[in-house]
Symmetry: none
DNA sequence: AATGAATGAGTATTCATTCAT
DNA sequence: CATGAATGAATACTCATTCAT
């Protein structure tokens, strides 16, 4: 069964919160809460200090500016977001030829895993989503993460599936867009847009996978 | 050729900006620019006044509060967003049975039209997107617009296509999600996430439509 | 009965509101209301305009400044306040010698009449009272009215009563202070400090007069 | 001679300004000055900050709002105003029967002491006087202080004097009004209305006491 | 005469940040 | 390390007053 070993790699890797003093932890927690509740610009450091139970000055001992605090929260999240794609055995596994249902398994693993991840890190992801358009720094980080990791990894995988005939021969750029759009669209709808609707996650994931597979199979009722 | 009349209805309806004094127009324009550049909370009324070329007090003669100004910008946009679905002949046309390629035409018309719309109203849509999570008022408006107009209209249409056998028999809720997610995902990627990439809009729209149609056809390579 | 003629003189003299346009009247009424409710400094011209049902600009067509409006309200009141002392027959009458109970009648007439007056002009008097300490102009007007009219008239009368032996031989300055303090103190208590207590005005006036008369008689239990 | 001990109790009790930082003290001093010069509403926090020699923000670190600052100034004054009536030995002493000139001594002590007090706290008393009509909070405090302390204490004393036959048998409510009106009237005239006149305080106090005593003796020249 | 849009200085209050303790 | 008093620039909003219509 070690042929499923790569699935395990999808799990969180080193989520080492490093050595943060308890006060520093409290500050980060409070900041995440408040930033995600009211948005970065509308949050005040004094409120964060109050909720963290520290003095106003303490925040600035650890983070030079409010903007610094935001970055400190958000940056370590990038790695976590793309964790599965960084797993050593991940790509290798996908490339084992002639596996039945390989594309399907891949999508299911990815979607399931990232949904769980998003559930766990909801507030930070909300902050990220909200602030990327306004913080040049984050925008650049996003671009480099996307092009250097997400895009190249997915491209390899997609092209592999295309060679296997699992996926239609569209430009990989387009295929990647479809997959990400559908996957992220599901997660966003599930967690941000209609979190209160009644969801059967397992079933909805299956529908979504089928939608992607059919959509990319390039064959219609003949 | 009047069987394509409904397509024309997709075009903007009355976008009368009502009777705004020139100063008021300047204020709105400046506000839209600045809100979309820095976000609502990070925008200052003094900067808006400066860019609009009016005194700061003038803003508050027309809009009681900064929040009021935001609402005044954003609310009239709701109607414009759902304009096509409100068109009288729109649904009627879709329901004419036995039309070949009907679902495809529907998706193409919708996607093309809403992309054009989004291109024209980029900054306001950005504001809307950014502020819905933080402005209770906007959240409520979104919910009611979605459930009362978008969802019900699309549901009728989807069920019609399902009866015709064009679309697989999944819950209409799920089908609507796929279509919206894919369509909106395309528009967002095109205009917000990677606006600077090289896009062949026409072709990309065709790919997207094929993706949706195959994805919802329920048939795979046989 | 013409020996009581002077009493009638105590009544309002020319309360000619001059020729004020209806809008002007509305403005004055609104200003009096609002100034007395919130104080001059805390009242805004825009609120006055709103309550008067006129445009903001209209106020400034009639009164150069907000301060001007205050003065226009308050100045004509000075004359009304000292009306009784200005009555031609008033002093003459008091000087008719050998009238029994003359001092008592004088005090009763004065007190009754000024209480009625104060009841009728409560809001304006409140404004006057509140603003004298802060408006140099009003302070000066008060001083000149007091020294030129109130003080001199009362002095004559008091000295007359002293010569008749009705009143003790204290400095008239002191006697005037006692009378005014007691009289005004009664009116203020009655109308401003404890307006909601149950008052039997007639009886309370009698007590007050007796208090002044005994107090100034210079005789104690012997 | 400990029979005059209660007189000493009339003196200020604990006027501990608590532990105020020097900046806080400066702020309070400046605020008292400016509020009493121009009135609360017409005073600006920026002017207070300037005169106190602190940054404007510093005011709001110590007092949440401008209104808060007013209250912080004015509230501790209530206790000081009624200090003599709170003195333990005060009432006891008054009640020692058969003392010659007891009522007279009482009035003299009260008047002298409160005049000194008013001289020392002129500006705060001016603020209090001016703002009671506009600050609901102060109005309520005044009412409760008056009914719970001033009125009840004076009533006991007045009724005691009435039983001794020192004072006429009018309703105590009325007697209290006469005494307060005359006393406060004297202090106001002395300090607020004609502060620049030439006053022989000792003599004027004696006249005022005689006026009250005669006025309340209920006996006239027979 | 009357309007009300426009002004810009002024308002109370908040903010991120500094620094002496 | 941590505090919290202090800062002063910035904020949203109000105001008395002007002026073209």
């Amino acid at each position: 069964m070690q042929d499923k070993e790569w699935l395990e790699e999808l799990l969180e890797m080193g989520s080492r919160d490093e050595k943060l003093s308890p006060k520093q932890k409290k500050i980060l927690e409070a900041a995440v809460e408040i930033f995600s509740e009211k948005g970065f610009a509308a949050s005040s450091t004094s409120e964060i200090a109050k909720r963290a139970g520290v003095a106003e000055g303490t925040i600035f001992r650890h983070y030079k500016t409010k903007h610094d605090l935001l970055i400190s929260i958000v940056v370590p999240t990038w790695t976590k977001i793309i964790t599965p794609l960084l797993a050593k055995s991940f790509v290798k596994e996908v490339f084992k030829k002639n596996q039945y249902n390989q594309a399907e398994d891949f999508l299911r693993a990815l979607l399931t895993n990232r949904l769980e991840f998003a559930k766990k890190h909801l507030p930070i992801l909300k902050i990220l989503l909200q602030e990327i358009p306004f913080q040049e720094e984050l925008k650049e980080q996003f671009t480099s993460i996307f092009t250097e990791h997400i895009y190249v990894q997915l491209q390899k995988i997609i092209e592999h599936f295309q060679q296997q005939g699992d996926i239609i021969d569209l430009p990989s750029k387009t295929v990647i867009r479809m997959i990400l759009t559908t996957g992220i669209g599901f997660i966003l709808t599930r967690l941000f847009i209609l979190p209160d609707a009644q969801w059967d996650d397992e079933q909805e994931i299956e529908h979504t996978i089928q939608f992607m597979l059919y959509g990319l199979s390039g064959k219609e009722d003949s």
